[in-house]
């Protein structure tokens, strides 16, 4: 933490070396976050850029009482949400028919690469992508998501379940026979 304190104060003073150091420390992880929220790599790059500009412009507001990574991550996620709000405000969420439930076996899932999953997540309609990311990966509650996105908790829940259905279907389409043989319905 002491280390970061020095770097942060140098960044606030406008030292580009320190800024580059801080950027390289967190950029790969944050680019991973951006990729999850964006429809493609270009949009993710834009969001990473906007997010880091905000990070450097607001570093003086960082209170050192939480983790720096958490703080940066929050700003990056906000930048991504803001972009989607601006761009997709007027897109009605497409109505997706309910797919049959699909079960997966863990050993097949283990063979799927993260890059492929990223692609699948990026193909989701923007709002489903947001809700799924915030709920499943960031660990937000439906209440928090509803507040963040100005929707009701019910909408958040239905968006999440539809996102899950689409993801399942896509995984099935892309990775073939994934039907669970060890049927654990009961």
């Amino acid at each position: 933490m002491e280390d970061f304190k020095t770097i942060i104060s140098e960044c606030i003073a406008g030292n580009q070396k320190a800024m580059a150091k801080l950027y390289h420390q967190f950029a790969p992880k944050m680019f991973g976050v951006c990729l999850r929220y964006a429809k493609d790599a270009t949009e993710a790059e834009d969001n990473l850029q906007d997010g880091f500009i905000k990070v450097f412009s607001n570093l003086s507001a960082f209170r050192h009482d939480g983790s720096l990574e958490g703080w940066i991550r929050r700003i990056i996620i906000n930048a991504s949400l803001e972009k989607i709000r601006k761009q997709h405000l007027l897109y009605p969420v497409e109505d997706v028919s309910i797919y049959d439930s699909v079960n997966f076996s863990d050993d097949v899932i283990a063979k799927i690469a993260a890059d492929d999953l990223m692609k699948i997540i990026q193909e989701l309609p923007p709002r489903y992508r947001l809700v799924f990311n915030l709920y499943v990966i960031e660990g937000y509650s439906h209440q928090e998501i509803a507040k963040e996105m100005s929707i009701t908790q019910g909408t958040s829940k239905s968006n999440l379940s539809r996102a899950r259905e689409i993801l399942k279907k896509k995984v099935q389409e892309n990775f073939g026979e994934l039907r669970d043989q060890n049927n654990y319905t009961a």
């Binding site: 406008g14 580009q16 800024m19 580059a20 950027y23 950029a27 790969p28 992880k29 680019f31 991973g32 990729l35 999850r36 790059e45 990473l48 850029q49 906007d50 880091f52 500009i53 450097f56 412009s57 405000l89 007027l90 897109y91 439930s101 699909v102 079960n103 997966f104 863990d106 899932i109 799927i112 690469a113 993260a114 999953l117 990223m118 997540i121 799924f132 499943v136 990966i137 899950r164 993801l167 399942k168 995984v171 669970d180 654990y184």
Partner: protein
């Protein structure tokens, strides 16, 4: 639920700590963006400093005003206010008509030969009434109006050009329907946003404050010789009222309302007294020994105080008036009582404040300054002794209408989108003497901490 967990876990496991090196050129863009931001912030800082300086200057300028200029001053500030409002209105109208041009003319501005006609016409139609209003207010737009009216009157008489226009618009219909839908929705949103912007915001509120008054007075030497000494610690009075604020933009707003404010002046032992003449010379230092004026014809008695002459409605029961033993005239009469006088004044205040928003977040900071007209509605003098507090009379020669300058800082906390909690320390200074007796100049300051609620709509 089991399979849900599986799909969640699959994505969480694989993507939570997903890392990928971003392209190298991003860092350069980030450096550039951060540099621009810090420049902008510095600019905002200077802008806020400039506003603070302007408000301070306005306040100090008001401070220096002579009593004689008060009438002119008020007219001037009203005139400035009117001009400000006009400017604000003009700006609003110009912005609206410009954005309407952008919104409505965007899809049509293809053909340069008919472009001015179309954009002018659509602007005229969309903002029909507003354009007319703006032209009345802004003479520099009158030329534009003539042009618009001329053009628009031509259009209905020339159906062919309208038909041509429609024909030219035809190819745009073939734009993908989803894009077109989005464009339409965007336009609607823009218009709604502009309508919201154009409306400005109103705030109404109620506030209450303790009023600490700090005496500042001067008197002629002759008057002061027989005067009660003013005490430095005046009782805390109460003030408060209703406020109305109009906010045409993001930063500036104009505030008015009605306030009630109390003002108190306490007087005690005289610094100069006729203790030698007093019947109670040995204890005179403890008591009021200020000379009392007794009017021979009306038998009314009066005393000088730093805020003006106190006229008694009768001789208070708890005081003793002493006199020189050797004379039977009342010319050298003095009060011989352990008592304290409190002169209370009540004012109804109509303020005109200019406010500037420094920080516009959930917790907001505003700077404010301006002038008020104060109407005297209450004037009582009380005597306080160990026997209690009694109304004894009033202060003579009090000016009915007074003017004051105010400077303050406002802190605002949003309880919800529309309700705000306010806390505002303010300093108020009377520009003219509250008493029009030639021997007295009484211009107190008051310090108040206004707290209250406001509602925005």
């Amino acid at each position: 639920m089991k399979e849900n967990k599986n799909i969640d876990e699959l994505f969480r496991e694989k993507l939570q700590n997903y890392e990928q090196e971003p392209p190298a050129y991003l860092l350069e863009n980030i450096f550039a963006g951060a540099a621009v931001n810090s420049k902008r912030r510095r600019l905002v800082f200077w802008r806020i400093s400039a506003v603070a300086a302007a408000l301070l200057l306005a306040f100090i300028a008001g401070w220096q005003f002579n009593t004689n200029n008060n009438a002119d001053l008020n007219k001037q500030s009203l005139a400035t206010m009117a001009t400000d409002n006009q400017n604000i209105m003009e700006n609003l109208i110009q912005t609206e008509s410009h954005t309407a041009k952008v919104a409505s003319g965007k899809s049509i501005q293809k053909k340069t030969d008919i472009n001015p006609v179309i954009s002018a016409r659509s602007t005229y139609e969309k903002n029909n009434s507003k354009v007319e209003t703006s032209l009345v207010a802004a003479t520099n737009e009158s030329h534009q109006l003539k042009l618009i009216q001329g053009r628009s009157s031509l259009i209905p008489n020339n159906p062919e050009s309208v038909w041509r226009l429609q024909k030219q618009k035809q190819p745009e219909q073939s734009v993908k329907s989803i894009d077109q839908q989005i464009m339409e929705q965007n336009q609607q949103l823009l218009m709604v946003q502009n309508a919201e912007k154009g409306k400005g915001k109103w705030l109404v509120g109620a506030q209450a404050t303790p009023v600490y008054s700090v005496s500042k007075s001067s008197q002629s030497a002759q008057y002061a010789r027989n005067m009660l000494s003013s005490e430095s610690s005046n009782p805390v009075d109460l003030g408060g009222g209703l406020t109305v604020e109009y906010k045409p933009g993001k930063r500036w707003s104009v505030q008015s309302g009605v306030y009630y404010s109390g003002l108190a002046q306490t007087s005690g032992n005289s610094t100069y007294g006729g203790s030698k003449n007093s019947l109670a010379a040995d204890v005179a230092s403890k008591y009021l020994t200020t000379k009392v004026n007794v009017d021979a014809s009306t038998s009314k008695i009066s005393m000088n105080s730093s805020a003006g002459v106190i006229e008694f409605s009768g001789i208070p029961s708890q005081v003793v008036i002493g006199n020189n033993i050797e004379t039977n005239s009342m010319a050298s009469a003095v009060f011989v009582s352990d008592a304290r006088f409190t002169q209370n004044f009540e004012y109804v205040e109509i303020p005109l404040y200019l406010r500037y928003t420094v920080l516009n977040k959930r917790f907001g900071i505003e700077m404010m300054g301006g002038f008020s007209s104060n109407l005297l509605v209450g004037n009582q003098t009380y005597i306080e002794s160990n026997l209690g507090k009694t109304l004894v009379g009033k202060t003579n020669d009090m000016e009915v209408m007074n003017y004051s300058g105010t400077l303050g800082v406002g802190f605002k906390y949003g309880l919800s989108k529309s309700f705000f909690l306010n806390l505002e320390p303010r300093v108020k200074y009377y520009l003219n003497s509250l008493n029009n007796n030639e021997s007295v100049s009484y211009k107190p300051y008051t310090i108040g901490v206004f707290t209250g609620l406001s509602y925005e709509f």
